[in-house]
C-alpha cells in the first residue's frame, strides 16, 4: 500500500512535466513543414489531390489545432494513445511492438555499464594514482569521448565485416526460424554490439562516478572508524565503503534512463534494431504526431518508473530515507 502510494505520488508529481511535453511537442510539430499526408504521399509514390484531401479528413487533419489538441488530450485521459497514420495501427500496438527491443537494449546496456563501471571504479579507487587507476581512468575518458555511432560503425567493420564474429545488425535471424534457447542465443548475439555501443558512454560515466564516490567515501570519518577497528582493507571496502559509494551510482541510473532513450535512436539506427528510438526518429520524419506523442508519453513513463525503482533501491540501501519519508 505504501509502495502504491509512493508510486502514485511520483506519478502525480510528474504529471505537469508530462503535460508540458505533450502539449509542447504537439504545438511544435504543427510548425513543421508538411504533415503526415505529405509523408504518406511520398511513401506511396504519388497520387492526386483528391486522395490527399480524403486522407487528411481520414486522419482528422482538417480540424483546427486546438480542436485536435483537445481531442488528443481527451483520448489520453482515457489512456487511448490514438491511431498511427503511417503504421495504420493503434499507437499503443505500434509502440508495444517496438518496446521489447529497446527495453532489452537499455536494460542490457545499463546493467553492463553499471556493473562494469562499478567494478572498474572500485579497482581504480583502490589503486588511486597508480597504473591500474591511470589505465582505467584513461579508458574511461576515451570511452566518454567516443561518439557512440562511430564506435558502432567501427565495431561493425571489425567484428562483423573483418572477423565475422557477430551480426552487423537486426534483432534476430528470423529466417532460421529458431525457437527456445537457440532463439534467445540468437537475439543475444545480435545485441552484443548494440549493447556495447550504447553502454560505452554510460560505462565511462558510471566508472567515473564510482571512482569519485569511492574516493569520497574513503575519506569519511566512519571509514577511519572502521579502520581503527582493525578491519582488513577488503572488509572496510566491502562492508563500509561500497554500499555508501553505490548511492550516487543509483541516483545516476535514474538520471540516465531518459538520455539513454535518446542515445538508442542513434544506436538502433546504426544496428537497424526495431526499437522505440528508431520509431521515434521515423515518426518525426513521417510527421506521425500520434506516434511521436505516444513515444514521449511512454518514455516519460519509463523515466518515472526508473526513478521510482531508484527511489525504492535507495530506500532499501539507505535507512535514513525510509525512516525520514
Amino acid at each position: 500500500m505504501r509502495l502504491l502510494g509512493l508510486a502514485a505520488r511520483r506519478l502525480a508529481a510528474s504529471l505537469p512535466a508530462l503535460l508540458l511535453i505533450l502539449i509542447g511537442l504537439f504545438l511544435l510539430l504543427q510548425l513543421a513543414p508538411g504533415d503526415t499526408v505529405d509523408a504518406l504521399m511520398a511513401q506511396m509514390g504519388g497520387g492526386d489531390e483528391r486522395i490527399a484531401t480524403e486522407l487528411r479528413v481520414f486522419y482528422g487533419l482538417d480540424l483546427s489545432v486546438p480542436a485536435r489538441l483537445g481531442q488528443y488530450l481527451l483520448r489520453l485521459v482515457q489512456l487511448d494513445l490514438g491511431y498511427s497514420a503511417i503504421y495504420g495501427k493503434p499507437v499503443a500496438t505500434v509502440i508495444l511492438e517496438r518496446l521489447p527491443a529497446t527495453l532489452l537494449l537499455m536494460t542490457a546496456s545499463l546493467s553492463f555499464a553499471f556493473a562494469f563501471g562499478a567494478v572498474l571504479g572500485v579497482v581504480a579507487a583502490r589503486r588511486v594514482n597508480r597504473w591500474p587507476d591511470t589505465l582505467i581512468s584513461t579508458l574511461g575518458l576515451i570511452f566518454y569521448a567516443t561518439p557512440s555511432f562511430w564506435f558502432g560503425l567501427m565495431a561493425i567493420v571489425v567484428f562483423s565485416v573483418h572477423l565475422q564474429w557477430l551480426p552487423a545488425g537486426g534483432f534476430g535471424d528470423v529466417a532460421l526460424g529458431l525457437t527456445g534457447f537457440a532463439a534467445v542465443l540468437d537475439i543475444a548475439k545480435h545485441l552484443v554490439l548494440p549493447t556495447l555501443t550504447l553502454a560505452l558512454i554510460y560505462l565511462a560515466i558510471s566508472l567515473r562516478i564510482m571512482r569519485a564516490a569511492m574516493l569520497e567515501v574513503l575519506t569519511l570519518d566512519f571509514v577511519r572508524t572502521a579502520r581503527a577497528k582493525g578491519l582488513t582493507e577488503t572488509r572496510v571496502v566491502a562492508r563500509h565503503v561500497l554500499r555508501n559509494a553505490l548511492l550516487p551510482m543509483i541516483t545516476l541510473i535514474g538520471l540516465q534512463v531518459g538520455t539513454m532513450l535518446g542515445g538508442s535512436v542513434v544506436v538502433e539506427s546504426v544496428f537497424t534494431l526495431p526499437g522505440l528510438g528508431r520509431l521515434a526518429y521515423e515518426s518525426v520524419v513521417q510527421r506521425d504526431l500520434n506516434t511521436l506523442l505516444g513515444i514521449a508519453f511512454v518514455s516519460a513513463l519509463l523515466v518515472i518508473a526508473a526513478n521510482f525503482i531508484v527511489d525504492m533501491l535507495y530506500a532499501r540501501l539507505d535507512p535514513r530515507i525510509s525512516s525520514g519519508g
Partner: protein, 276 residues
C-alpha cells in the same frame, strides 16, 4: 596565477589543453592550408589515404579532400561546441539562478519546465526541432543549446540553493543590498566554478549531438562538419571505412581534450579534490 599554476601541475589537464589548442590551431590554419571551399570537388571520389599524394587522408564519396574537410570541420565543431554551450549555459544559469535564489513557486514552476525537458530524451527533442526549423548550422546550434541546458539549470539551482543561505549572502541582505546585487555579485561568482567545469561536459555533449545529427544526415550539408563526413562514410563503410574512421578519431580527440580540460579546471578550482 595560482589557478594557472595549479592547472599546470596536472599533466592530464595539460594534454587536454594541448588537444584543444591543436584543434583550435587546425581551425585557424584551415583557410591557410586549404584555401577555397573544402566542399568543392577535389578529385576522383574514394581515393584511399596515401594513394594520391595530393590527398594524404584520401577523398570522400563526393570527391572532396578529407584532410581539407577535417581542418575546416575543426572550426565547425568548435564553433558549434562553443556557441551551443554558451546558449545552454546562459539559459541554464538564468533559470537555475532564479529558481534557486527565489525558491517557492518560482522554483516549482521553473523546475517543472526543466523536468519536462529532462524527461523527454534530449536527442528526440533535437530531432523534432531540426525537423521543424530546418537544419542550417545556426538552427542546429541553437537547437543543441536548447536541449542541453537543463543539467546546467539544475546544477546552478543546487549551488544557489546552498549559497543563498550562506552567512555572507545573509550579511549582504542585512546590509540592504538588492536581490540583483545578491544574485549577480555575491552568489553567482561563487556558483560559477562548478558550472564552468560542467560547461566542458556540455561542450562535449554539444559536439557529440551535432555529429550524431550529421550522422543521420540531419545537420547542415553546406558546412564541412566531421559528423557529416562520418555519415557520408557510412554508405561506403564496408570497403572505404577510412572515410568514417578519420573524422571519428578527430571527434574523439576533441572531446577527450575538452573533457581533460574540464577535469583539469575542476581539480584546479577544487584543490581538495585534486587527484580524484
Amino acid at each position: 596565477m595560482q589557478f594557472l599554476r595549479a592547472y599546470a601541475r596536472n599533466p592530464a589537464a595539460l594534454i587536454g589543453a594541448a588537444l584543444v589548442l591543436a584543434v583550435l590551431a587546425m581551425g585557424l590554419l584551415a583557410p591557410l592550408l586549404y584555401p577555397g571551399d573544402p566542399l568543392s570537388l577535389a578529385g576522383r571520389p574514394l581515393q584511399w589515404p596515401g594513394a594520391n599524394p595530393r590527398f594524404p587522408l584520401g577523398t570522400d564519396p563526393s570527391g572532396r579532400d578529407i584532410a581539407a574537410q577535417l581542418f575546416h570541420g575543426a572550426r565547425v565543431s568548435l564553433l558549434i561546441g562553443f556557441s551551443a554551450t554558451a546558449i545552454a549555459v546562459v539559459i541554464g544559469i538564468g533559470i537555475g539562478a532564479l529558481a534557486g535564489f527565489y525558491g517557492g513557486i518560482v522554483d516549482t514552476l521553473l523546475m517543472r519546465v526543466t523536468e519536462a525537458f529532462q524527461t523527454l530524451p534530449n536527442f528526440l527533442l533535437l530531432l523534432v526541432l531540426v525537423a521543424v526549423f530546418g537544419s542550417d548550422i545556426k538552427t542546429v546550434t541553437i537547437a543543441i543549446g536548447i536541449v542541453a541546458w537543463p543539467p546546467v539549470a539544475r546544477l546552478t539551482r543546487a549551488e544557489f540553493l546552498s549559497l543563498r543561505t550562506r552567512d555572507f549572502v545573509q550579511a549582504c541582505r542585512l546590509q540592504g543590498l538588492s536581490d540583483a546585487h545578491l544574485i549577480l555579485r555575491e552568489v553567482l561568482p561563487n556558483a560559477l566554478p562548478p558550472v564552468i567545469v560542467y560547461a566542458s561536459v556540455v561542450m562535449a555533449i554539444a559536439i557529440l549531438l551535432e555529429s550524431a545529427l550529421a550522422f543521420l544526415q540531419l545537420s547542415d550539408p553546406n558546412v564541412s562538419s566531421w559528423g557529416n563526413l562520418i555519415g557520408l562514410g557510412r554508405n561506403v563503410l564496408r570497403a572505404e571505412w577510412y572515410v568514417s574512421a578519420i573524422p571519428g578519431i578527430a571527434i574523439l580527440l576533441t572531446i577527450l581534450g575538452v573533457s581533460l580540460v574540464g577535469q583539469g579546471l575542476n581539480d584546479a578550482l577544487n584543490p581538495r579534490l585534486a587527484g580524484r
